[in-house]
């Protein structure tokens, strides 16, 4: 392959779109070609510069003026109909939802489908299941690592945001109904609280797993959220209810908007299948901060690569996989050949505000 063709592959590599075989070939070429290595450096720098350009902020009354237009009955701008969306696009997104559900179900099925002879040799890190099982609703059991982790990170910030968003409506309802009745009968509030409770429980689990790189105020904000939710749910009169609402509105969710994933899988095949489908179907996937891998996979190294703090960054993980039977209790003898595998996931991009 000539260097010209490598240029296009470098562009694909920048977006993590190369297969492992092509990536290996490209990386091998880069070690021996100064020209392509220089081009690769330039491409990365150009991308960093492009990403360093500031975002446009919307004005402070953006949301309010939008809802004014909605309440005024303003219709859809005619121009959006000028290029109809192909039906194939709609089907694709429907399929994405179904495929995502299949990933979750796959996790459930594999939980009970142990390869023969391996069950007694495989053990998850002590305490993992017990931690996840504590204080969670039935819908989170049996747990699926992707769903649990993503809900725990994004879900808690979203659920608190949602409660804040509805605080105005809730304030009006307080005058019409006692708090305990409101908490019991208002379906919308019940749903939001259930989500918030579940999410906070998951975040507590994340903390107990000793996830690295949590924000420094994480523990304090989590405690504050738990306390605010408890006050909210135990309010006995209108004043306590309003006070709890005000407390919730002060939760600093912006400090916890950095989503992350925890992959907890029971065998190598499940790990790669789950990981591949996550990356493919969820472009906004956050960092993988902790990997609880089966015993024949050892995480050698995990480090961010490239990018300025405001640019695109990747997290590179290097695994050493031992072929043959996984190590574990009762397993005798050394494992067979080892293989080094590298996986790269893009961190959620940080934006520089204008």
């Amino acid at each position: 392959m000539t260097c010209n063709r490598y240029a296009y592959q470098l562009s694909l590599h920048l977006d993590g779109r190369l297969s492992s075989a092509r990536r290996e070939a490209l990386l091998s070429h880069l070690t021996s070609c100064d020209s392509c290595q220089g081009l690769w450096s330039e491409m990365q720098k150009a991308q960093e510069l492009a990403l360093s350009l500031p975002y446009e902020s919307v004005t402070q009354d953006f949301r309010e003026s939008l809802f004014d237009r909605i309440r005024a009955g303003e219709g859809t701008p005619e121009a959006i109909f000028h290029e109809p969306v192909p039906k194939l696009v709609k089907l694709r997104y429907l399929a994405t939802g179904a495929a995502a559900a299949a990933v979750i179900l796959l996790g459930f099925n594999l939980a009970g489908a142990w390869p023969s002879g391996q069950q007694e040799n495989f053990s998850q890190p002590a305490g993992t299941n017990e931690v996840l099982a504590s204080g969670l609703d039935d819908e989170f059991r049996p747990f699926n690592a992707t769903y649990v982790a993503e809900a725990g990170a994004n879900g808690v910030t979203r659920s608190i945001d949602d409660l804040k968003f509805f605080s105005t409506e809730l304030s009006k309802k307080i005058d019409q109904m006692p708090p305990h009745q409101l908490l019991r009968e208002d379906a919308q509030l019940t749903t939001l609280l259930k989500e918030a409770r579940g999410s906070v429980g998951l975040m507590r689990s994340m903390q107990e797993w000793e996830i690295i790189s949590l924000p420094s105020n994480f523990a304090a904000e989590l405690r504050f959220m738990e306390s605010s939710l408890r006050q909210f749910e135990s309010a006995e009169n209108v004043q306590e209810f309003r006070f709890a609402l005000e407390q919730l509105a002060r939760v600093k969710v912006e400090h916890m908007r950095d989503p992350f994933q925890v992959l907890c899988c029971q065998n190598q095949e499940e790990f790669f299948a789950l990981y591949s489908s996550m990356v493919e179907r969820n472009p906004d996937i956050g960092r993988v901060l902790k990997v609880v891998a089966p015993q024949n996979m050892q995480l050698q190294n995990m480090e961010p690569t490239g990018g300025s703090p405001q640019g695109r960054r990747f997290l590179r993980m290097q695994f050493r996989i031992s072929s043959g039977s996984p190590r574990g209790h009762g397993h005798q003898g050394p494992s067979a050949a080892t293989e080094d595998v590298e996986i790269k996931v893009e961190e959620k991009r940080l934006r520089k505000q204008k």
Binding site: Y8, L12, L49, L53, Y55, P77, E83, T191, L192
Partner: protein, 186 residues
Amino acid sequence: MSRPQNSTEIDSLSLVAFNRAMSEHAEGLKSYAARMLSDSILAEDVTQDAFLALYRHLSQVPSSAFRPWLYRVTRNLCLDHLRRRKFKLRLFRDVNKDDERPHVPVDLNADRPDQIAESREAQAAMEEAIEQLPPRFREAFLLCEMQGLSYEDAASVLGCPVKTVSTRLFRARQRFRAALTEHIKM
């Protein structure tokens, strides 16, 4: 794209999803529209129009598709505004046109590219480089490089195959890089 229904009742969970979409995508959409239109104020109007359209179509768009749907609508609105324009697009956005200072080369080998980008000349050079991209390349660049859409989502926004997106993005990157070397030492 189907016509909206006139229902005024939106269920609470859809409204929650709509609110989330605003929090997560409003700034990205406005940034995209601003570079398409070279007009920050108009870009905010277009962004609001896009969310208004989403609100009217909430029952028809799955929440997982909000982001590409919004970009698709925003693009259509931008193209509509561009078609109506009788004059050439401005070359520079938010740059004082009376400024006669020459471009000063900036050493890109410094350790902090974000510090370099903060310099006015570098930012102007980058904005111009984006503006000078051929329209089809620029769209792929704005969607994928600047807004982080996947090839697949960008393909749905642009109405073209995924391979076309990757090719246009590659060519846009080539031209963007080449344009920067004229003003900035790399």
